[in-house]
Symmetry: C2
Subunit: 418 residues, 2 copies
């Protein structure tokens, strides 16, 4: 089983030895505050959310997005050796890990006034991610680089540099316009798309990566936000389809990370209907194809747990559907991902199970674990045997009492950390 | 066939003889401007959009949302006798018509400083709608009242008054919070919900009725907006489910007008998943039921054209799915609604076809056409025979050249008129 969406909580020593001397003192520092919570200190600010919603292995009562400390987290969230044990215990061979404290698109670094410094931080982060996080256990990770999002030429160069080191995924915003950069409808990003095509790099748009929370009303309970966050990816899907990008760059690939799949057949039917009804006055042109054809060709679709989506597979391009574990976030199916996954595979042919569980991820992300690890050691059973005795029981980790109003505060923090 | 979503373009004489003498001069006046376009003049302002997107029977090149004049519209949009002929020619027995120029929730009147005057306008509108528009041809319409939205007690009284005249539907906002009123999560609307329960009135939330357009980026083509408008109803669905309303008022019914149905199974699976995962810390309580149970009990779901939705009917509460024609808007299947409808009914059992095409609408909206019109005269074939010779061919109606930038201007107008 290969997951195309997990998350890493960055460990304290990340930048050590990876930043040029000139910027050594400027690198983010991992600190422990007076109340015991951890934070990253960078450019005079403290980033509270070291581990957005990293609640794996904790009881649901402790879920939330409060500031936290590493000692409240499962070590597998930040320690690579423990992470591999957690993956083994979950029967999970491969993992693509998104960043936590720099935000999905490295916005933390992009805000740095000195852009040379910003680039030094992005490079250091990517080198650590590729060499240390993914490199310590060859064949277990799909490296995903952080973008130098403030300049498309610099971004393109970093994509090429990290692709040469094996990163065939880059994390990007589901809507750069909401972050203050030009939209997908402009030609601003063309150097970036070109680099991704040249280097076979999938552009991953994770839900929430526009830093826009769907707030229906000031007094709406947080459940509304939790419900609407994933489906909000339809906005990115609509932007992608109607933008020039997919038609202008024939080999480009996007992944809608944590986007789910059950909404896609409805969405594609609607978008084709809109095209056929309105193209005469909106002047869209897909030649002899339909918008749905273009989506199905270019967009990798991803789900954690989606019975209805799997049941609707006749309406999906099954060459593009990938599975996600989402460790260590609250939606994750860890440590029983194989069991949860197989429940959804009731009645699904073996070929489709293989495509969803690993073949599609391997093909799209240029990930070839079997060249490093014998195939028979990659099965759920083999991995779990290796992890025999590893404790995956639910453990209370809370060190602090949940404050009144913590939920409202969580909302604000969720916005600031995505 | 009974449609629970069509639209009326209000005719010039609407307020004549329906407003108390004190407010006679204050009533909206239908005017023709120098450029030949029509508007309603009210409280010193001109409402340009007399007929939001009322393009039925015109070629797709002329679709759009420009200011228009009645002579550019199909007479069936505003003339009740012509409307009946258009309905007959479409094989359509029944129709629920939403307002045009007062906006979905009567915001135009709600903005009036003198609230007695505002109420006089809402009452005049409702009397016209029930007595003239719906009353001229008994058994052909499901009356839908305009809300006195500025005061829940006044609103409740108007619901009771119009229900006594036969209106078992009221048009309301998919998100009153976005219009500046309290949200569904407050108890502000309780008198209104109580009146709707007492009088068996369905609260209709039409897409776009929050006046919030989904704009992903300033340079996004209008196709993005058109694509995202219907699916945006998920926000109303999430608000409804997580609000206290459905649990507090056991007999209340909401309709998600023009909301489509193909997204619902995915959405309900997600919301149940969220509930089970997060309730321990968000403290939501559905007793021995699930959020999906509550949705399926209270929410009438509606579609115009949704193959995938119909194909997914095993996942839907088929007692609540209703068909819509959406005449005279651009998404309407008029004048071939029966043919378009039956294409989607391939393989669907007769009982389900009957429920979708008319039985659910009749039951939910207390609509009983057969008490007025013999059943055998209500079939598609019988209605079409009555309309023999009625011209339904596509006709170019454009009197003005589409200005450059008309599309961008349309966007702004769409926001102001919903």
């Amino acid at each position: 089983m290969v997951s195309v969406d997990d998350h890493v909580v960055e460990p304290a020593g990340l930048f050590e030895g990876r930043v040029p001397a000139k910027y050594k003192d400027a690198a983010p520092k991992f600190i422990t505050r007076e109340d015991g919570t951890n934070a990253w200190s960078y450019e005079g600010a403290e980033v509270s959310n070291v581990a957005l919603n990293a609640v794996a292995g904790r009881p649901p009562e402790e879920y939330g997005i409060e500031p936290t400390s590493l000692d409240e987290l499962r070590p597998g969230t930040y320690d690579i050796h423990q992470r591999i044990k957690d993956m083994d215990a979950n029967g999970q061979l491969g993992s693509l890990c998104f960043p936590s404290f720099p935000q999905f698109c490295g916005q933390l670094f992009a805000r740095t006034a000195d852009k040379d410094q910003a680039l030094a931080m992005v490079r250091a982060y990517n080198d650590w991610h590729i060499e240390e996080w993914c490199g310590t256990y060859p064949g277990r990770f799909i490296p995903c680089s952080l973008p130098a999002i403030w300049d498309p030429e610099v971004l393109a160069a970093e994509v090429r540099r990290t692709a040469a080191k094996g990163a065939h995924a880059v994390t990007f915003s589901e809507n750069p316009s909401k972050l203050g950069w030009p939209s997908l409808h402009s030609d601003h990003w063309d150097p970036f798309w070109t680099a991704c095509c040249d280097e076979s790099v999938v552009v991953c748009m994770h839900i929430g990566s526009s830093s826009q929370l769907v707030i229906t009303a000031p007094d709406a309970p947080i459940d509304v936000l939790i419900t609407l966050s994933p489906i909000n990816i339809v906005q990115a899907a609509a932007d992608l389809i109607w933008s020039p990008v997919l038609r202008k760059f024939p080999s480009i690939k996007f992944a809608l990370s944590e986007g789910g799949i059950g909404w896609i057949p409805y969405f594609l039917e609607r978008i084709d209907y809109n095209y056929q009804r309105h193209r005469a006055w909106t002047h869209q042109d897909f030649g002899d194809r339909l918008p749905s054809d273009v989506f199905n060709e270019h967009v990798v679709t991803c789900f954690i747990d989606d019975h209805f989506g799997v049941a609707s597979r006749a309406w999906l391009n099954m060459d593009n559907v990938c599975w996600e574990c989402d460790y260590p976030h609250s939606d994750s199916t860890w440590p029983t991902a194989p069991e949860t996954f197989m429940k959804q595979m009731d009645g699904v042919e073996r070929a489709d199970i293989d495509r969803i569980s690993h073949l599609n991820a391997m093909r799209h992300f240029g990930y070839d674990p079997f060249s490093v690890i014998p195939r028979e050691e990659c099965t759920v059973g083999a991995l779990r045997r290796r992890a025999a005795g590893h404790d995956v029981s639910v453990q209370s980790k809370s060190k602090r009492v949940k404050a009144a109003g913590a939920m409202a505060a969580s909302l604000g923090r969720m916005a600031e950390s995505r």
